[in-house]
Symmetry: C2
Subunit: 142 residues, 2 copies
């Protein structure tokens, strides 16, 4: 599995929010039930995304989570970053902390191209690409 369970939950939750009709906050309980995911665990994950500014949360009645910006401006890498370090040492196939053109692991030269494709995918794919964004929301995006 290339992504942790945590990142997968995060992505699915953000997709869910992107697909939500209207601008009302969505409660953790509703997302957790829709995704069949543990409630408190998801709560902690969404809180993580709130800290990085990807989501906004409000407490109390009518509270919940909303996307902080349009789905088209949220990259997959933005969602994953708080939980999985894809760019760092994970970039080396053999897990070396230091692996570069100057100081390569045995797989470096051949893995580099593939690795860059993976990272390009994560950087170029947005939530709009993955979600069925409602027409009214898509129309508002710039």
């Amino acid at each position: 599995m290339i992504l942790s369970q945590t990142s997968i939950y995060a992505i699915r939750a953000v997709i869910h929010l992107a697909e939500a009709e209207g601008d009302d906050p969505v409660r953790v309980d509703d997302i957790a039930e829709a995704l069949k995911v543990p409630r408190n665990y998801l709560s902690k994950i969404l809180h993580g995304l709130t800290r990085t500014g990807l989501l906004e949360s409000t407490r109390g009645p009518k509270g919940g989570f909303v996307l902080a910006r349009a789905p088209g401006r949220i990259r997959l890498s933005d969602v994953i970053e708080p939980f999985d370090d894809i760019a760092g040492s994970s970039g080396c196939l053999l897990g070396r902390a230091r692996c570069s053109d100057a100081n390569p692991c045995p797989a470096h030269a051949r893995w580099r191209d593939v690795s860059m494709q993976v990272r390009a995918f994560l950087a170029n794919t947005t939530m709009e690409d993955l979600a069925n964004v409602p027409a009214n929301r898509a129309a508002l995006e710039v």
Copy 2:
């Protein structure tokens, strides 16, 4: 990290065996020391590779592990397979057990190409590509 620590140890050990001079078996202790890897843990990993027929082991004095075939005929995927399920559910970015063209996850269409490149890399890269194979050994390969 795309690969488990276990797979990484396995790859590094097989590279070490491919680079070994001569055809004498190499002891676990020597490999473990060269790789700075826990001895008994590595032993279990090498045993796993022996069970799939990638390595051959002999016990007693002068015993140890040797490659069961030429490095050029050992694919990266052969080494990883016993420990990481790359082809199976790991193929789906969102971790779904069932994810196919007919029953796709939200990321399926876009992830498919990248995923196939990863798998092609693992299937097309051999230990000869990764190791500094000694000349005498390389010359023997067909």
